[in-house]
Structure formats: C-alpha cells, structure tokens
C-alpha cells in the first residue's frame, strides 16, 4: 500500500534543510519526495508538523537477559516508538553479558518477537566484560553485532585493549570505548569541584575523561581501528578529539542527552535520578559540549537509556545506581537545545539519526528516495509537564519528572508500518 504524507515540514539531516513538502512511502521504503500523491495512495495530512527520520539511538540498555523487571524488549520498543525512536542499538552489559554468538542470537530473536522498532544489538568487546580476553569478534560480527563495547566500563589493560583494537581493525568492526580513567573514576558519584565538595560526595576529576580519551586515541593511532567514544561530556576532552580528527583517525564521539541538558546543580538535594555515569558536569562543560555538538565535533546524540528499579534509586546518593531512562524524553529534551537556539532541527536529527546510522553502516536516518521508511511526525512546540508514571518504560527513573517540556510525537513509522499514533497516549490511564 502506498502512503503519502502531505503538508509536513521535512527535516532533512543529510541536506541540512527544513522545508514544506510531501513524502510518499511504499514497500517499506521512501519512494518519492515532493511529488503529488499517486492515484490510489492513502493520504495523511501532517497538519504542518515536522517529519524527520526516526531516531537511531546508540547505547540503549534493555534488561534482557537478566533484568527484565527493569525493561523488556517489548516495553523498550513501545517507549522508543512513542518517543520517535525507530532503531535501538542495544548495549551488551546485561546479565549475563552479550559476549557470544549464542547470546546475541537470543537477543536478536527476543527483539524480533517483542519489539515494534528495529533492534541492532551490540556485543561485548571482552568476555564477561572483564577486560581480559577478546570475544569472538568475527563470529559475532557475522551474527549481526552492530558494534563492540564493554558498556560503561573501561578496558583497563592497555595491552588487552590494543589487541582488541588491532583485531577489530582487521575486520573493520567498530569498537566503542568508555573514556574514563578507571583509577580516577573509581567510586565517584559526582564531578570534582565546589558542588561535590560541599555535598561531600565522592568525586572524579573531569580530567579523568580526557586521560581515558587520550589513551584510547593513542591506541587508535597505533592500530588504525574504527573507534567511537560513547560519551564526551567535558570541555577538556574536545581539543584531543579535534586533534585526532585532524590527524585523519577514524574516530567519532557521542554524548548523552542528559549531559547536554542538565548540569551538576540539578542533583540539588541528593536527587538520585540525577546520578549518571559519567556524573553530571559543570555548566561550563555542558555549554562546551553543546557547542561541539552544534559544530559537528561531537557526532552522535543518544539517550543512554538506562532503566533502574525504584529500589536501586531509593538509597543515599552515593549508594544509588547510576543511570536514567531516556527513550520517551529524548526528543523533547533535545528540542530544548532547538528552542534555546543552540542547534537547528536538521542538525539535531543529524546527531540523533543520520550520524549513528552512518557510523553503524545502516541505511536509516535519511529522507532520501530508497531509504527505509523509518519516520517520526512531531509537533516541536506542543507543551506538556512530564509525569514519570505515564512513561511506557517499566522503570520510571527519569530526571525530567515534573519538568515542563515541549515537543510531542504524533506518529512513528518503522519500515512504512505505523508503530505509534498519538491518542494511544491520551487513552492511557
């Protein structure tokens, strides 16, 4: 069946344009752009709202296997669809970790059966994420691993990490690093500085990130591996990143939505929903990272969705689990940057859809004819107050509870099939 979505603003992250237009979908793909709807096509009037490629979210934690009470593929998929996400690149730091072709197949099978959106699973880089022996990178890649990462854990041994990079480089596999010097970061719950000192929280110097990044970049220069830094959150890391780029290393960097919209003061009176890994940074760091995202030095913006149950968060700050859910708040939070004038819409979707898809070699993230019809229709201005208990995620640990936000998803398509329509939301209790 052919569907023509008319009267929309097309947000094109490839051309970096935003213009009124029409998009025609058939057979799961985009078949025409800005053409009159063909005879017999179903016509959907977008009411002048924005139509953009669906979000490709790199680094999503789902609780399967092991912690399904926190998030399942079904709930993560529903939450993503409601938030405009169409591809979830899932993290391997589950229990047990995804470090064998067999466990990757389990994830792929569960995801296909339960999730309304696409799941691209990542595999661990080392067995058991213990940082000692590399996984079967070749077999895992053949089984469909999107990338290799030990999650929010640095491979401490430079020798092991260098070997992993060398081996991965031979296969062209993407390695995702977590640039945090493990020694400095041990036990930290906040970023070192006046705020953490007055709160009496164990803290890590912002410099731990640059030390981790410098180390990784040195090893990348040595091995010529394809490397992505999962989260760059401090100003001190940016010159190192720019230098690596100028030297022609195959290096990209990401940042979580929380680190570009919140800062350490949001922790306030020990609010554990603001405990993240790495911890929230100073306002100066946040501003520098937003600027780097705007000029493209940081390539990828992600939700870093990390569901935690209530018990893990109802503890003193330094004992509470780190992480925040982000699938449904990702777009409205990102739109804060647009409303604030920091980034254009097309730029935002370059960081949220096009760049992650390109980096992983996926065809999504574009509005071009022939691209998969993974799309999100949204109203960037619609205001609302977030109520965490209305989130579709099983876990409700969002730092945006009670926040005034703008931007509502009206519809989401994956491969031309509609997986979310607003109104579902209004019918919810």
């Amino acid at each position: 069946m052919t569907l023509a979505i008319v009267n929309v603003r097309l947000v094109d992250p490839e051309a970096l344009t935003e213009a009124p237009g029409t998009l025609t979908l058939a057979g799961g793909r985009i078949v025409a752009r800005d053409r009159p709807p063909p005879a017999g096509a179903r016509i959907l009037d977008g009411g002048g709202l924005c139509l953009a490629p669906g979000i490709v979210d790199l680094g999503v934690k789902v609780g399967e296997p092991g912690e399904r009470h926190k998030e399942s593929f079904r709930t993560a998929g529903l939450a993503a669809a409601a938030g405009g996400g169409t591809t979830l690149v899932t993290r391997p730091d589950t229990h047990p970790p995804i470090d064998s072709p067999e466990s990757l197949e389990f994830v792929a099978r569960r995801a296909a059966a339960a999730s309304p959106v696409r799941i691209a699973p990542m595999a661990a880089l080392t067995r058991g994420r213990e940082g000692r022996e590399m996984v079967e990178i070749g077999l895992l890649r053949d089984a469909g691993a999107a990338a290799f990462s030990d999650g929010l854990r640095q491979v401490e041994s430079t020798r092991v990490f260098a070997r992993c990079l060398t081996y991965a480089a031979g296969l062209g596999a993407l390695v995702i690093g977590h640039p945090q010097d493990a020694g400095l970061a041990a036990g930290a719950a906040a970023t070192a500085g006046r705020f953490a000192s007055l709160r009496g929280l164990p803290a890590v110097a912002a410099m731990a990130e640059r030390i981790g990044l410098d180390r990784d970049l040195g090893l990348v220069a040595m091995t010529r591996a394809r490397y992505h830094a999962d989260q760059i959150t401090t100003a001190a890391s940016l010159p190192a990143l720019a230098r690596a780029r100028a030297e022609g290393l195959d290096v990209t960097a990401g940042v979580s939505i929380h680190h570009v919209t919140l800062n350490e003061f949001d922790i306030g009176d020990y609010r554990t929903f603001f405990r993240l890994s790495p911890p929230l940074r100073s306002e100066a760091d946040r501003e520098a990272v937003v600027a780097a995202l705007a000029d493209g030095l940081i390539d990828i913006l992600c939700s870093m969705h990390d569901p935690q149950d209530e018990e893990s968060k109802r503890l003193p700050f330094e004992e509470a689990a780190a992480g925040a859910v982000g699938l449904e708040t990702f777009l409205p939070a990102a739109l804060r940057l647009w409303h604030g004038g920091a980034l254009g819409l097309a730029r935002l979707f370059r960081a949220m859809a096009l760049n992650p898809a390109r980096r992983l070699g996926l065809p999504q993230g574009r509005l071009a004819v022939g691209a998969p019809a993974d799309l999100v229709l949204f109203d960037p201005d619609a205001p609302f107050v977030l109520d965490r208990f209305r989130l579709r995620s099983k876990a409700k640990n969002t730092p945006f509870d009670g926040a005034r936000m703008q931007g509502k998803v009206r519809a989401t398509w994956v491969g031309g099939r509609q997986v979310f329509a607003a109104g579902d939301a209004d019918a919810r209790p």
Binding site: A186, G187, A192, G193, R194, F195, A196, S197, L198, R199, G200, L201, A203, A205, D269, Y270, E311, R314, L315, P316, F317, E318, E319
Partner: protein, 329 residues
C-alpha cells in the same frame, strides 16, 4: 523566632540570624548545666530516637544526655544489632521508626545526604549528627559557641582549619558557619586532603603550617580519618605529624592568644601533640565537649518548639476546615 527550621540537616540552610538564635539559647543552657539540679521538663512526654549507623561515643552520649536533661524519653538505637544488618534499607528503617511516632530523630550515617533522605520520609523533626563527608551541624555550632565564649566575638576572626579537610564533615559545616558570620577561613593541609573547589568556597588555602597558622585567632585541628580513606593520601603518619601535626613550635606562628580546638576523638602524636592538647591555657577541647551538650539541648528545644507550633497550626487548620464544612452542611 529566628530559628524557624523544621529539621537541623546542615548549616547550609540556616540563615545567620538562626545560627545566632541557636547559640544564644545554647548559652543559657551552659549556665543551666552548671547548676546542681540539671533537669527540665521542656521535652516531657516527647520521644527522641538516636539512630547511629556509625560508631560514636561522644556525639551519641551528648545527644542522649541533652534529651534526658530536657525530660524527653530517649531511645538509643544500636544499629549493629538491628534489622539494618539484615538488609533493611534506610528508607524502610525510617518508615518503621516513623510509625512509632517519635518527635525527634537524631541520625548519623556514613553516606552524604542520607539524613536528608531520611528526613524526607518522616513526620518528626530530624537532627543530622553527621552524614558522610557532608555536614555535622551541631559540631560546628558547638565550635562556634566555644569560640564566641573564649574570644568574645564570632566575626572578623582568622580561623585556620587544619588537616584532613577532604574527608571531614566537621570542616564543611564550620566553613559554612564561620563564613556566614564573616570570619576569614584558611584551610591548611597536604594538597591531597584539601577538597576540590576550596578556593571557590571563599577560603584561603595553605599547604604548610607556617603560612597557614600565621596570625590565626583560632586553630582548629581535624582528625585524620583513616576509616574514610580509600588509598594513600599521605606517605606516613610520621611524615604527617612532622609537617602538619600541631605542636608548640608550629602554634607559635599563630596569635599569642590563639585557641586550639579539636572535634575529637584525637590521634595524639598524629595530628596534635599530647601535651599541647592538655594545655589548659591554649586547648579548649574540654570546653567543646561541654558546649556540645548545651548546643544539642538548644537544638532539641528549638526544634521541639517549631514542631509543636506546626502541629498546633495543623490542628487549628483542621478544626477550621471542619467548622466550615459544618456551616455548609
């Protein structure tokens, strides 16, 4: 009433006037405590629970005595033998105790912010008796009272806080309190034990005792908190004593009438010379313990007043709502 707080969680939330009001009330209790008959019924019929997740001798005893002298029923919770050891969370313990309807809970906990968390879950007044490296407000108040009585004022003084500042909640509360009242604060210690951002807190920083103690009116020594250290911050206790241990020679840099303080318990021969600690002309360490009881009596008294006022207001509001309801009925 200048002291209007519901809880005493930290110095950070207290305006200067509230601090002064608390110290004035505590001053009266010092006189009272020196009388032969030291019992009042200010808190008669009220229940005070002391809940200590860290071992403590002087603070817990001081609160217990303060409560008893004011006529309260004081229950001391020995956490080591309680359900906490069986895995009960802090919030569940708080809810359990809350159901027993205490009026005041005094809490010490090893995690920063834990007392704030507990306070948000209970109906009674909560006193922070030390949370992690965050705050220890009654210690700062008793230090302030000691200084005020010895120096005759609590402003424009140069106070050197020396030693393990990074791990010290006493230091944080003192920095906040003495800063609010307009004193000059100098943090003195090895750089590994000076917290990040100290300069932005309005403090001067010195990394040797000669510069740090110059012209100081008050020298406040801190205990080396070996139990909170997760690695080597100093090469040895011997070197630490040599460079930062307070002795007569180092003290000679301070003003001739400078007083020496220590929150206790002391590591004699590590951060302070034993003879100096016992020198009644310079050391006010015993005064601090005495002031501690008075400050805690004042804190319990004022919090209980606010608690009663709050309850009376709530009852009046309920009665008025019921009356309005009856009119319309």
């Amino acid at each position: 009433m200048a002291f209007a707080a519901r809880h005493l969680l930290g110095i950070e939330q207290l305006p200067a006037a509230a601090i002064v009001a608390l110290l004035d009330a505590a001053g009266d209790y010092v006189t009272f405590n020196r009388q032969p008959l030291r019992r009042r019924d200010t808190l008669a019929g009220m229940t005070v629970i002391t809940l200590f997740y860290e071992p403590s001798t002087r603070t817990q005893a001081s609160f217990e005595l303060a409560g008893k002298r004011l006529g309260a029923d004081v229950m001391t919770m020995a956490v080591a033998q309680s359900s906490v050891k069986k895995g009960e969370t802090l919030i569940d313990t708080a809810l359990t105790l809350n159901a027993m309807r205490p009026d005041l809970i005094v809490v010490r906990h090893p995690a920063s912010g834990a007392v704030n968390l507990l306070a948000s879950k209970v109906d009674c007044a909560v006193v922070n008796a030390g949370d992690g490296r965050h705050e220890h407000p009654t210690q700062a108040l008793l230090d302030a009272l000691t200084i005020r009585r010895r120096k005759g004022r609590l402003e424009g003084l140069t106070v050197a806080i020396c030693g393990d500042i990074a791990h010290s909640r006493v230091a944080r509360s003192n920095i906040l309190l003495l800063g609010k009242l307009g004193n000059r604060i100098r943090l003195v210690g090895p750089p590994t034990l000076i917290p990040a951002g100290a300069g932005e807190m309005g403090c001067e920083v010195a990394t040797d005792m000669a510069a740090g103690l110059a012209d100081a009116d008050v020298v406040m020594m801190l205990r080396l908190q070996k139990e909170r250290m997760d690695g080597a911050f100093i090469p040895s206790e011997r070197e630490y004593y040599h460079r930062f241990g307070l002795d007569a020679e180092k003290l000679s840099r301070a003003r001739p009438d400078a007083i020496v303080m220590h929150p206790g318990p002391m590591n004699r021969g590590v951060e302070i010379d034993g003879t100096l600690a016992d020198d009644i002309n310079r050391s006010v360490i015993q005064d601090q313990v005495e002031m501690g009881v008075a400050v805690r009596m004042a804190a319990l008294d004022l919090l209980a007043r606010n608690l009663r006022a709050g309850r009376a207001e709530a009852a009046a509001a309920a009665a008025s709502a019921a009356a309005t309801g009856a009119d319309h009925g």
